[in-house]
Amino acid sequence: MTPAEAIHAGVVAPPVEPEEVDEEKEATDVDEGSEESLHRKLTRLWDDRPGFIGRLTTVNHKTIATRFFVTAFVFFLLAGLESALMRIQLARPENAFIGPDLYNQLFSTHGTTMLFLFAVPMTEAMGLYFVPLMVGTRNVAFPRLNALGYYTYLIGGVLLYVGLFTNTGPDSGWFSYVPLSGPEYSPGKRTDVWAQMITFTEVAGIIGAIEIVTTAFKQRAPGMSLNRVPLFVWAMVVQAFMILFALPMVASASFMLAFDRLVSTHFFNQAEGGDPLLWQHLFWFFGHPEVYIIFIPALGAVASIVATFCRRPNFGYTAAVLSLVSMGFLSFGLWVHHMFATPIPQMGQSFFTAASAMITIPTGILLFTTIATIGAGRPRFDTPLLFVLGFVVLFTVGGLTGVMLASVPLDIQLTDTYFVPGHIHYVLIGGMVFPIFGAAHYWFPKVTGRMMSEAMGKWEFGLLFVGTNLTFFPFFLMALNGMPRRIYTYLPETGWATLNQVATVGAVIFVLGVLLFIVNVVASLRGGAVAGANPWGGETLEWATTSPPPNYNFAHIPIVNGRSALWSAGAELPVATGLSTERREVLLTTVLDAEPDVRHEQPGPSIGPFLTALAVGVTFVSAIFTPWGYVYGPVLVFLGLMVWFWPRPKKADAVLETIEVPR
C-alpha cells in the first residue's frame, strides 16, 4: 500500500522520519527546528513586497479576494442608492424628483451594476478566497493572472460610474436591446460605455473561472478525492465552467454592438440584413445561465452554513453534487424563455417551456437536501442560518413566479410589467443576497479574526427580510393592476400610488438593514470578540488554520481522510511535509483521487499584471472613441505581458534535476 492508498483507505501511514538534509538540497518545512521559526520563514517567503508597490504587485489570493469583496460591496451600495432614488421618484404619482432621462440611466446602471459588478464578482471572490483554503493549498493556481482579473474588473466598474457621473450612463436597460441601443436610437457614448464595461467584467470573470477550475482540480489536499470535495467547492467549480461557456457569448455580443456603433457594421441593423433578434439570442444565451452563475455559488455557501450550524454533514451529498452539475447543463437550454414575446416557432416555445420546468427538478432536490439537513441535524439558529431560512422562503417565491413566467400565455401577458422585476428581485435577493449576507456573517471571523455581533445580525436579518417582502411583493400586485416596468412616473388615476408607497417604505427598511450590517462590520472589526481558528466548529479545511489565515495559509499541507475533513481527522490533523521553504511551492495532486504528484513552484509578486490591466484599460476605453484603440492598445498589452513573463536570472545549475522526463 502506498502512502496515498493508505490515506484513501483511511489508514494513514506512520509519521515519516525527517531525513538527514544534505547541503545541496533545498530546505523544507521539516528542516525547521520549531514551528515558530517555520512560521517566520514561510511568512517571509510568501510576503508581499514592502510599501505601496507591494500593494500593486501582490499575488496573495486572500488580499485580492478581499479587494473584490470590498469593491463589489461598494458597487452594491451604489446600485442600492440608485434604486432608493427610483423608489423615491415612484412614491407618488407625477413626481418631479427625477426626470425621464436620468431615470433611464438610473435603472440601467442599477441593473448593470447589480449583475455585472456586484453579483458575479462577489460570488467569484468568495471562491477565490475560500476554494484554496477549503482544498488545503497555499494560493490559487495562477497568482498573477488573479491580480490581473481584479484590476480589469476595477477599471470596468470605475468606467461605468465615470460615465454615470458625467451624464454618460447607459440608458437602454441592463440587457441593452437593439435597436434601442443601436447607433440610430442611442447616439452619444452611453451605450458604448456599457458595452466596454461588459468586456472588462467578462475578462475578469473568465480569469476567475480559470483560477477556480485549476485550483479545485489540481491543488486539492492529499486524500481529497472528488467524492470528498466540499459542496461549496463543487458549486464554485460548476459556476466556473458555466462562466467559461457563457461569458464569451455576451462578450462577443457586446463587441458586435460596439462595432455596429463605432465602425458601422450591420450585425443588428435590419436594413442591411442584420437582425435585432440575434442580439437577444446571444445575450440570453449568456443571460439565463448568468442567473445560475450567481445562484449556484450561493447554494454552495448555504451548504457550508447548514452543515456547520446543524452540526451534521450535508444530507444527500451525491444527489446534491449531481443536481449542481445538471443545473449547470440545463441552464444553457432555457434562454429562449426570455424571448417568448418575439416570433419564436411554437415548437421552440414548447421545448423551452418544458426545459424551464425541468430545471426545477435539480433546484428542488437541492432545496430538499438543505431542508433535510436542517431537519435531521441539531440546528443552532445563529445569524448565518437565519439568512439561509430567509433564502429558502424568498427563493421559493422567486422560483414559483419563475414557473409562472415559463408558461407562454402568461408570459406574453406579463412581459414588460412589474411582475418581471418582482420575480427577478425575489430570485436574486432570495437566491443570492441572503446567502451572501449569511456567508458574510459565517466567514467574517475567518477573514478578520473577529466575531460579528449576533444581536445586530438578527436585527439585520429581520429588517432585510421584512424590507424585501414589503418592497417586492407589491410589484406582483402592481403588475396585475397593469403597471409596466421602466416608467419614471404614472398618473394618479391609475391607482398604483398606494402599492408604490408600500414598496418605498419597504425599500427604506431594507436600507436600514444594510446600514446596520455596515455598523456591525465596523464595530466588529474594532471590538468584536477574538474568533479563534474555528469559532463555529466547522468541518472544512479553512477552519484548520488561524483567523485570519497566515499569508501561506497552511504551514504543512493538510491530509484529508473523509468528506468532513476536520470532523473525521481525529485528535491530530495529519499533514504532509516536504514542501520547500525557499521557493513558493504548492502541492499538485491527481485530478480524481488527489494523490500527491508534483511540487509546483508559483511565481511571486510582479507589477506585470497591474501594467497589463492598465494597457487593457487603455485599449477598451480608447476604443469607445476610435477603432485605432484596438491597434495600439494590444501593443501596450504586449509590453505589459513582457514585464510579466520575462524571467529573472536564476541560479543556472541544478535547475533541471527534478524535472521528470515523460517516456
Binding site: P3, V16, F259, E572
Partner: protein, 230 residues
C-alpha cells in the same frame, strides 16, 4: 447556552494563542498536527495535464471556442435574412491565398509537434531550432492572412454578410497573432538562455494551443470560403 460557553472558552484560548504568537512563541498551526506523509521526493516540473499550465491553456481554449461559436452561429442566423449569399452584387471571397494559407497552417503542425517533443525531452538545442521554424511559419501565415482579408471581396460595413464574414476571420486572426507572439517570446527566452525549468512545459503547452488554433480554422475556412459557393 453550553454552546455559548464553549465558544467563549474557544475565544479565550484563541486570544491566549494570539498573545503568545505576538510574543514570538506560538506555533504555525492552531490545531495539533502530526506529519503523515513526506512529499519532498516528488518532481517539481511535469508535462501535460499533471501541470497547471495545461489546465489554464485549455480554459482559454474553451473561451475561444465559444467566441468562435458565437460568430459562426451569427453567420448562419444572419444568412436566413438573405435570398442570395453572398448578397447579389457581392463577389465570392477569393479562395486561392486562403487555401495556400490553410496548407501552410496544417504544415506548421510539424514544427509545433517537433518542438513539443524536444521540450518534453528537455532537448534545448532542438527546442530552440523548432521554435524558430515555428516562428517563421507563424510569420508567413500572419502575412498571408493579411492578403486573405484583402481578398474577402466585401467590407465590414457593406452589409450584414460583410460584417459577419469579417467577424469570423478577425476573431481567428487574433488567435493567429497571439500564437505568433507566444512562440516568439518563448523562442527569445530559450535562445537567450534565460529559461527556467518551468518554461519547458510552457513550450509544450504552447504547441497545444497552436494545434487548437490551426485545427479550428479548418471548419471556419470551409464556412467562410465554401459555404457561399454551395
Amino acid at each position: 447556552m453550553s454552546a455559548d460557553r464553549d465558544r467563549a472558552a474557544a475565544n479565550r484560548a484563541a486570544a491566549r494563542r494570539d498573545a503568545a504568537r505576538a510574543a514570538g512563541q506560538g506555533s504555525a498551526y492552531p490545531i495539533p498536527t502530526r506529519p503523515a506523509l513526506d512529499v519532498h521526493d516528488l518532481p517539481t516540473v511535469t508535462f501535460g495535464h499533471r501541470d497547471v499550465m495545461w489546465w489554464g491553456t485549455n480554459g482559454f481554449v474553451i473561451v475561444e471556442t465559444m467566441t468562435l461559436a458565437a460568430t459562426v452561429a451569427s453567420y448562419f442566423y444572419l444568412r436566413r435574412n438573405f435570398d442570395a449569399w453572398p448578397p447579389t452584387g457581392t463577389p465570392y471571397p477569393s479562395v486561392g491565398i486562403p487555401t495556400l494559407n490553410l496548407v501552410l497552417l496544417l504544415l506548421s503542425i510539424v514544427p509545433y509537434y517537433l518542438l513539443e517533443k524536444a521540450a518534453k525531452k528537455l532537448d534545448r538545442d532542438n527546442l530552440v531550432k523548432w521554435l524558430w521554424v515555428s516562428v517563421a511559419f507563424a510569420l508567413a501565415t500572419n502575412v498571408l492572412r493579411g492578403f486573405e482579408i484583402a481578398g474577402l471581396n466585401t467590407r465590414w460595413n457593406s452589409n450584414a454578410y460583410g460584417s459577419v464574414v469579417w467577424a469570423v476571420v478577425i476573431v481567428h486572426t487574433t488567435l493567429l497573432i497571439t500564437d505568433l507572439f507566444e512562440t516568439l517570446v518563448l523562442a527569445t527566452i530559450f535562445a537567450r538562455k534565460r529559461e527556467q525549468e518551468k518554461h519547458y512545459p510552457d513550450a509544450s503547452d504552447n504547441s497545444l494551443y497552436s494545434y487548437f488554433m490551426i485545427l479550428v480554422w479548418v471548419p471556419l475556412y470551409v464556412i467562410v470560403y465554401w459555404v457561399p459557393r454551395w
